[in-house]
Amino acid sequence: MPAGDAFSERQQDDVVRAIRLARKQSQLPVSVYVGTLEGDTRAMARQLHAALGAGADQAVLVAVDPGARRLEIVTGPGVRRRLDDRAAALAALTMTSAFQAGDLSGGIANGILALAEHAHVPRSLHTDQP
C-alpha cells in the first residue's frame, strides 16, 4: 500500500464540520485520532485522552486504528454524566458499520453526530428567566 494522506481534503472537512457541529449543538468537545494504537489499544486511547490536557475532563476522544480495526471512545469523568457508556457504544456501532463498508471519514463524522445527539446539554439555571 503506497504512502499517502489518510483523508482527502473533503473528507477532512467532513470530520472537522462534524466536530464543530458537536461543539455548537451540545457543547461537546470531540477529538478524533486516526492512526496506530500500539500495545493495549484501550490504555493507549486513554493515554491520548489524557494528553488533551486541562480540557480532558470534559472531552471525548474517538480513537480509530484502521489497521487493527479497533475503535475506542474515551469520555472524561466530567462528560460521562452527560454521555453515558451506552450512548458511546451506540455511536461506536454507527461508526463500525460504516467502517466495514470502507467509509472511514463518513463513519467518523456520523459517529460524532451520534455522540452529540446523545449528549445532554447541561441546563444552566436562572439564565433564561428574569
Partner: protein, 121 residues
C-alpha cells in the same frame, strides 16, 4: 378429381414457385450482372490495413477509452481505505493538542473515572 383440376393445380403451384424463386437474392446476382441500378456501386473494396482498422482498431480503441474513463476518477483520488488491507497513512489528530508527541509524553496518568466504549470491525 378430374384431370383438368389436377392440371390447374400443377400450373398454379409451379407458377408461384417460379415467382418466389426469381425474387430470391441468389437470382439478384444474375440480374445485377445484366443491369445495375443508379447509385448501386459496390466501391473499390477495403485494403487489409483498413479492414484491421475498422474491425480491430476501433473496438480496441473504444475499449481503452471506456476503461480509462472508468478508472481515472479512482486513480486521481488516490488510495482509499479498505477493511482488511492494512493501514498506510501517517496518524492524524483532529482537534488534538498542538504538539501531540510532547502532550502524550507529558500527560498525567489517565483518570480511572472516565468511560466510553470499545468496538472492532
Amino acid at each position: 378429381m378430374t384431370a383438368r383440376t389436377v392440371l390447374r393445380a400443377a400450373v398454379l403451384t409451379s407458377a408461384t414457385a417460379l415467382l418466389v424463386l426469381v425474387t430470391t437474392p441468389a437470382f439478384a446476382a444474375v440480374t445485377v450482372l445484366a443491369h445495375r441500378d443508379d447509385g448501386d456501386d459496390p466501391g473499390g473494396g477495403l485494403s487489409v490495413l483498413q479492414t484491421l482498422g475498422i474491425f480491430v482498431g476501433i473496438p480496441v480503441g473504444l475499449f481503452v477509452v471506456i476503461a480509462v474513463l472508468v478508472s481515472a476518477p479512482a486513480m486521481a483520488r488516490g488510495p482509499r481505505y479498505r477493511p482488511g488491507v492494512g493501514w498506510w497513512a501517517a496518524p492524524i489528530w483532529f482537534n488534538g493538542p498542538d504538539d501531540a508527541e510532547r502532550a502524550v509524553r507529558e500527560a498525567e496518568a489517565p483518570s480511572s473515572q472516565g468511560g466510553g466504549a470499545s468496538a472492532r470491525w
